[in-house]
């Protein structure tokens, strides 16, 4: 057995100070991991709407090639250069929520996403970010939807959202909120200059249709399921804070039943259409006609319209049709 080591003053001081130093470093590191959480509310602010010279019309483009009609629709609005300035940070928000192939029309058409990203890059965007807070496992949906590959090829930075508690979600104020005055929202929206919403039009049991405004839920963290009883008001609140500069609605294929997940080709209609415009309510309202509905039929379109977020009445929307 080794003899008991005597504790001298020297060894006590030496070991004691080493221990104290190590403990102090650990505490400092621990505090460091916590410090970011105390950032004051004023520092984080969602991006405002960007001033732009795009046409205020709603463009409905039809044709066989999804990339072609996307290009045509944006050209008819005046070109993405009128929205995206050189050096801008652009967020392109497709629907990547479901683990299905593009042909089942549960996720945005990858060619539409690719084209929007390409045009944003062409317009001089410094960074184009593509992400979605998915419902199915993101690693599968990003792949199977074809969107991650398409967006990356076009020059976007594709990132995962790691669940509803991803640290990039920050509690943000919704000043005009009626039922919801704050919610965790993706931090990229505080950095970005431009938000381009690229939803897919499809059936949804609760809201009847999931369109552009509903697609914004992918920017929200937290337990989004709790929105459902008040979904229309919640979506109106949310879209009052999250400013969409441009909506490019993918209606190349639409899902008419068993949405929003899909999985059967029987429920898919080939409508070969892209609808684009700066007014998110008007684009959604226009898109309902593909399902033989009206804007008034959809609760959240009504609610958003009532809050003054856009026009619902088709008679008061100027629609330009383009065929490729």
């Amino acid at each position: 057995m080794c003899p008991m080591r005597r504790i001298t003053r020297r060894s006590f001081l030496r070991k004691g100070s080493a221990l104290a130093g190590a403990g102090g470093a650990a505490v400092a590191l621990g505090l460091c991991t916590q410090c970011g959480k105390r950032t004051s509310e004023e520092e984080i602010r969602l991006k405002p709407l960007k001033e732009n010279d795009l046409s205020r019309d709603i463009v409905v483009a039809r044709g066989e090639d999804p990339a072609g009609i996307t290009k045509a629709a944006l050209a008819a609005l005046g070109g993405l250069g009128k929205l995206v300035s050189p050096g801008d940070i652009v967020v392109v928000k497709p629907n990547i929520s479901w683990d299905n192939l593009p042909k089942y029309a549960a996720t945005t058409n990858p060619d539409v996403v690719r084209t929007v990203v390409e045009l944003a890059v062409e317009a001089g965007a410094a960074e184009v970010h593509v992400f979605d807070h998915t419902l199915n496992e993101a690693r599968l949906t990003y792949k199977r939807s074809g969107i991650a590959e398409a967006a990356e090829q076009a020059g976007a930075r594709v990132s995962y959202v790691r669940g509803q508690n991803d640290p990039r979600f920050r509690e943000m104020a919704i000043p005009a909120g009626v039922v919801m005055t704050s919610w965790p929202i993706h931090g990229m929206l505080t950095r970005a200059d431009v938000l381009i919403n690229v939803p897919i039009a499809k059936d949804h049991s609760l809201t009847r249709l999931t369109l552009g405004i509903k697609n914004l839920m992918g920017l929200a963290g937290g337990e989004r399921g709790t929105w459902h009883p008040d979904i229309a008001q919640r979506l109106a609140d949310f879209s009052s804070a999250v400013k969409v500069d441009l909506t490019v609605m993918d209606a190349y294929r639409i899902l008419v039943d068993h949405g929003p997940t899909g999985g059967s080709l029987d429920d898919v209609r080939e409508t070969h259409t892209v609808i684009a415009g700066t007014d998110p309510v008007a684009v959604d309202s226009c898109t309902t006609t593909l399902f033989d509905m009206k804007g008034e039929d959809i609760g959240y379109i009504r609610a958003a319209h009532d809050r003054g977020l856009g026009e619902l009445d088709l008679a008061r929307i100027s629609v330009r049709e383009v065929t490729v």
Binding site: T33, N136, A138, R139, L140, R144, L206, H228
Partner: protein, 541 residues
């Protein structure tokens, strides 16, 4: 002292570290997209102890265990090189023993012979094998590869991930060297960090078991390997016929340095005799021999052979009786008699008895599960089901187009399913608690469960009630389950927005005829990376 001999020990250490590194790499990468160069379950399939017991209890020939056969052949020729050079748990203990060096009690005098507990390993081997012959599979509780897999995969990896992730987040927030930090973060997420922080039930138990085994190193180095390991006992018995032996040339001064150095206690008497079955060919004796007379060779005239210890007749009979006794003790399972099995097994584990006979409780499926929903069973299904996997949908559901668990299962307790088979594999059936469900209990619309249901025609449907939502005034619709379509994936339970217990839950399959389903769609859905890249080849040899 010869330099060449020292080099052999160095080579052995390098090989050990390399195998441990490979093992850890495979543990970390046992996750989507499972893009590993060798099968993720390679090490488990190298254990002849698991191979023997699994085949006995399941009464099937398991081709997946060919690596275990290779280990047996190597052991016949060269002895226990697996223990000394390959076993990740042995290497782990070598490392922990090194840290315990200061506090270890004085080395036993080897001339006293082996301690009385030395034969425990043979007793475990025999008892577990006998139990397996009667269909009770508990080898995974004792197998060192399984213990290592659970220790690293279910306890230590989540801790490491936690520290790594939090440190990186702190660095991101502190905004020092943002470009470098985000690059490190990207690389870390790609190669080391989990997609989301894994949380496993009872992980502290696995940590404590490991610490207990490691602390036995205070008594002797490799205490586990010497006295307890049933895989070691099995290789010990095989290695006794190996022609490759330690041999001491003329000139030995009986300084006993080799005996003190031997971590297995394999060198006896005057230092010239070796217990063949105990030697794991670490070549420490060669390295320390001052006269350079300790060597290994295939010489046939080697007579310096010490009698290897073994079970006494009484010990042998005791082990057999113990193994037989374990059968009624474990099989008299109140949880099953009471119909208490209220949980859901991973996809493809259809017959509970067959599943329990095949599963070696290694934890691979739990580690690989893409949603983190697979969790170790503790005692809720009886002792016989300890550490088998179950789905806890509130933590994570069974992803509709994921087949990972079957791809890493070393015994096909979870079969390899094609994407099409997976989508028609029924795990359980969902049911509603109408006292909690928002549309039923509060007359408010909800529909989250219906919305996310992945079956193409929806296993949860909404029906009009003629009532109005109490707040919005919209028509109130309430959800119902269609058991004939439901596969029990638990996504509805996972997503139910109620706090705490969900209002829709997945229980066992309602009736056996709901198990197999007509194919729901054509076989053209191969967009996902994991299936396309690995396919069934992920398991071939």
């Amino acid at each position: 002292m010869s330099r060449g001999k020292r080099r052999l020990r160095l080579v052995r250490r390098i090989v050990q570290v390399a195998f441990l590194a490979l093992f850890l790499y495979l543990i970390v990468r046992t996750a989507e997209p499972l893009d590993v160069p060798v099968p993720a379950n390679s090490f488990i399939r190298m254990s002849p102890f698991l191979a023997l017991t699994a085949m006995l209890s399941a009464r099937t020939l398991m081709v997946l265990f060919i690596p275990a056969l290779v280990v047996i052949v190597v052991t016949i020729v060269l002895g226990r090189v697996f223990c000394g050079w390959v076993c990740p748990f042995g290497t782990t203990l070598d490392i922990s023993d090194r840290f315990l060096h200061r506090w270890r009690r004085k080395q036993r005098n080897e001339r006293e012979g082996q301690p009385p507990y030395h034969t425990v390993k043979y007793a475990i081997l025999i008892a577990v094998t006998v139990a397996a012959a009667f269909g009770v599979q508990v080898a995974g509780w004792f197998d060192p590869i399984c213990i290592a897999t659970r220790t690293y995969g279910i306890a230590l990896y989540p801790y490491a991930n936690f520290v790594g992730e939090k440190t990186l987040h702190a660095a991101v927030r502190a905004d020092v060297l943002p470009g470098f930090v985000s690059w490190v973060q990207q690389v870390a997420y790609q190669y080391f960090l989990a997609f989301k922080q894994p949380v496993y039930r009872g992980h502290i138990l696995f940590l404590l078991i490991f610490l207990g085994i490691a602390l036995l190193g205070l008594i002797e180095r490799r205490f586990w390997c010497r006295h307890l390991c049933p895989l070691g006992a099995m290789l010990d018995l095989v290695a006794r016929i190996s022609p490759f032996r330690r041999y001491v040339r003329d000139g030995c001064t009986n300084c006993l340095r080799c005996q003190r150095e031997c971590k297995m206690g394999a060198i006896t008497g005057s230092g010239e005799e070796t217990r063949r079955g105990e030697c794991i060919e670490c070549f420490a004796c060669d390295a320390v021999c001052p006269e350079a007379v300790s060597t290994f060779s295939f010489r046939r005239d080697n007579i310096q052979r010490a009698r290897s210890a073994g079970l006494t007749r009484r010990g042998f009979v005791g082990a057999v009786v113990g193994g037989v006794a374990a059968v009624p003790i474990l099989k008299t399972n109140f949880a099953r008699a009471d119909g208490l099995l209220r949980f859901v097994r991973p996809p493809g584990a259809e017959d509970e008895s067959e599943f329990l006979a095949k599963c070696v409780r290694c934890g691979e499926c739990i580690k690989v599960c893409i949603t983190g929903g697979l969790q170790p069973v503790l005692l809720e299904a009886g002792l016989e089901a300890l550490w088998t996997p179950k789905l806890v949908p509130r933590v994570g559901y069974c992803e509709y187009k994921c087949t990972l668990c079957g791809m890493v299962c070393p015994t096909e307790a979870l079969p390899i399913l094609s994407l099409e088979e997976k989508q028609e594999t029924v795990l359980g059936t969902a049911f509603f608690d109408r006292n909690r469900c928002i549309p039923w209990a509060e007359n408010r619309n909800c529909a989250v469960c219906e919305e996310c249901c992945p079956t193409p025609t929806k296993s949860i449907v909404l029906r009009d009630t003629g009532l109005k939502d109490e707040v919005t005034g919209e028509p109130l619709r309430r959800p119902y389950v269609r058991p004939e379509v439901c596969i029990g994936c638990g996504l509805c339970e996972f997503k139910c927005p109620l706090p705490g217990r969900a209002a829709v839950m997945v229980g066992p399959v309602r009736s056996p005829e709901l198990r197999r389903r007509r194919r729901v769609r054509g076989g053209d859905d191969r967009g996902g990376g994991q299936q396309r890249r690995r396919g069934r080849a992920g398991r071939t040899l």
